[in-house]
Structure formats: structure tokens, C-alpha cells
């Protein structure tokens, strides 16, 4: 992944409410959302980290329903990026 421009960083946390956890469809939604931002975005669950732009990486986390995820972003639009990913995590099923 290219180096994100230095600048702001942001972070936030969410509890996954999807009954199936972060399975393939929510993972897809996260990757599509992440592609809209310049910021480098990372998800963390139980000490394991994933690149939000890679669906394989996100699915590797295996976050179940009720699992806690920390989202961190680094780049010019970091705050908006974190907000967008948190919104997906807090959604029952991606639109």
C-alpha cells in the first residue's frame, strides 16, 4: 500500500452488531468504503490487525457478533474515514 500522506490521525471503536459478524458482505462494504479515502485505514480485533482495503485481510480477523473493533486511520481524511467504517460496523447488514 502506498504511504499515506502525513497529517491527521483518528481512531474509534465499535461493537459489531451483525448477527454473522464481519463475514464476506460486511467485509466487502468495508473495503469499498475504505477505497474512497486517501487515509491508510486499519482495523484491530483482539490484537490482530487488518488493512481495510483488503477483503482477505478483513476476513482474516473473523470478528463475531458482539466483537469489539478498533479503527485507526492516518491521512488527510482520517476522521471521515474512521466515521465511515464505524458506521458500517454498527450496521446490522450493509446496504
Amino acid at each position: 500500500m502506498p504511504e499515506a500522506p502525513a497529517g491527521t490521525s483518528a481512531a474509534g471503536g465499535a461493537v459489531v452488531v451483525n448477527p454473522l459478524g464481519i463475514h464476506a458482505r460486511p467485509s466487502h462494504a468495508i473495503v469499498l468504503a475504505a477505497q474512497d479515502f486517501a487515509a491508510r485505514i486499519e482495523l484491530e480485533h483482539e490484537g490482530r490487525r487488518a488493512d481495510a482495503r483488503s477483503i482477505l485481510s478483513v476476513m482474516t480477523l473473523g470478528v463475531p457478533c458482539g466483537g469489539r473493533v478498533t479503527v485507526r486511520a492516518q491521512g488527510p481524511d482520517a476522521e471521515r474515514a474512521v466515521a465511515a467504517i464505524l458506521e458500517i460496523l454498527a450496521r446490522a447488514e450493509p446496504r
Partner: protein, 153 residues
């Protein structure tokens, strides 16, 4: 947890030949049917479900795709691993051709196992040498050995 017990010599489809996503899904559906007798009368239903699922959002990236569906009324999970040596367009999120397919059909009731299985596939697929080694495999057993070697503990 390992899901290697779901795979046998017969679950490896070593030479997928189709040049597009629809054809690949048909080859994978046929492979699942060949591995699970109770799917035989439901082959067309299975393929329609796989096409509908992929149209909802790509499972493909980094040369690997994980097309998977659930079906009511089946008794167990069936899995195939398909290899397309030359690579085929599969609407991947990164736009790259796909060489390896993990395809699964599961009973509707096995939601918890589902997340674990996706994670297991994705963990293997994330290994930097997985795609290049699998493309060059000379036998189905070589693919199985690779999966066992790269599988998370």
C-alpha cells in the same frame, strides 16, 4: 480451528478452464455436486444461488476468490478448491485476475462455523506465496499439502 477435514483429493479442481466468472461458477458448482451427493438434484439451484451471491459483492482480491452460499435442507458443508492457472477476470476488488477459488456451500443453520471457515480460507490466501505455489501445483495432493502447510494453527 482447522477446516482441512472438509477437503479431500476430490475437492481440488486443478484445471479450471472457463474464461469468465459465470463459467467458473458453473465449474465450481459441478465440483461441489461431485463432492456431495445430496447436491446432485439441486445443481441448478446451487449455481443460481452462487451467481446471485457474487452479484451482491465480490469476494475476490489478491488472486483469490471465496464464492460461497447457504442452502436450506442440506446436511453438511461441502468445499472445493479450484485452480485457474492462467487467471480469470472475476470482478475482483483490486481488478486483478483470480487464480484460486475457495468455494463452499453450507446448511443455513451453520452460521457460527461459517465465519470461522471464511477466516480460515482468508488466512491461507493471505500468505504471500499461496497463489504462486498453487498455480504451479502438479497434483491435487500438492494443493492439499500446501493448504495444510499454510493453514493457521
Amino acid at each position: 480451528m482447522s477446516y482441512a477435514h472438509l477437503l479431500s483429493d476430490r475437492s481440488v479442481l486443478l484445471d479450471l478452464a472457463s474464461g469468465d466468472a459465470d463459467g467458473i461458477l458453473a465449474e465450481l458448482a459441478d465440483g461441489l455436486v461431485a463432492n456431495c451427493a445430496e447436491l446432485a438434484p439441486r445443481r441448478d439451484e446451487l449455481l443460481a444461488a452462487m451467481r446471485a451471491r457474487e452479484s451482491q459483492g465480490s469476494t475476490a482480491s489478491q488472486g483469490v476468490a471465496i464464492p460461497h452460499v447457504k442452502l436450506t435442507g442440506i446436511s453438511r458443508v461441502a468445499v472445493v478448491v479450484g485452480v485457474h492457472r492462467g487467471g480469470v477476470p472475476f470482478r475482483a476488488l483490486d481488478g486483478e485476475p483470480v487464480h484460486v477459488f475457495f468455494s463452499a456451500v453450507r446448511p443455513t443453520e451453520t452460521a457460527e462455523q461459517h465465519l470461522g471457515m471464511l477466516r480460515w480460507f482468508a488466512s491461507i490466501a493471505q500468505h504471500e506465496d499461496f497463489v504462486s505455489f498453487t498455480r504451479k501445483a502438479r497434483s491435487r495432493q500438492e494443493v492439499l499439502d500446501l493448504l495444510n502447510e499454510l493453514a493457521p494453527a
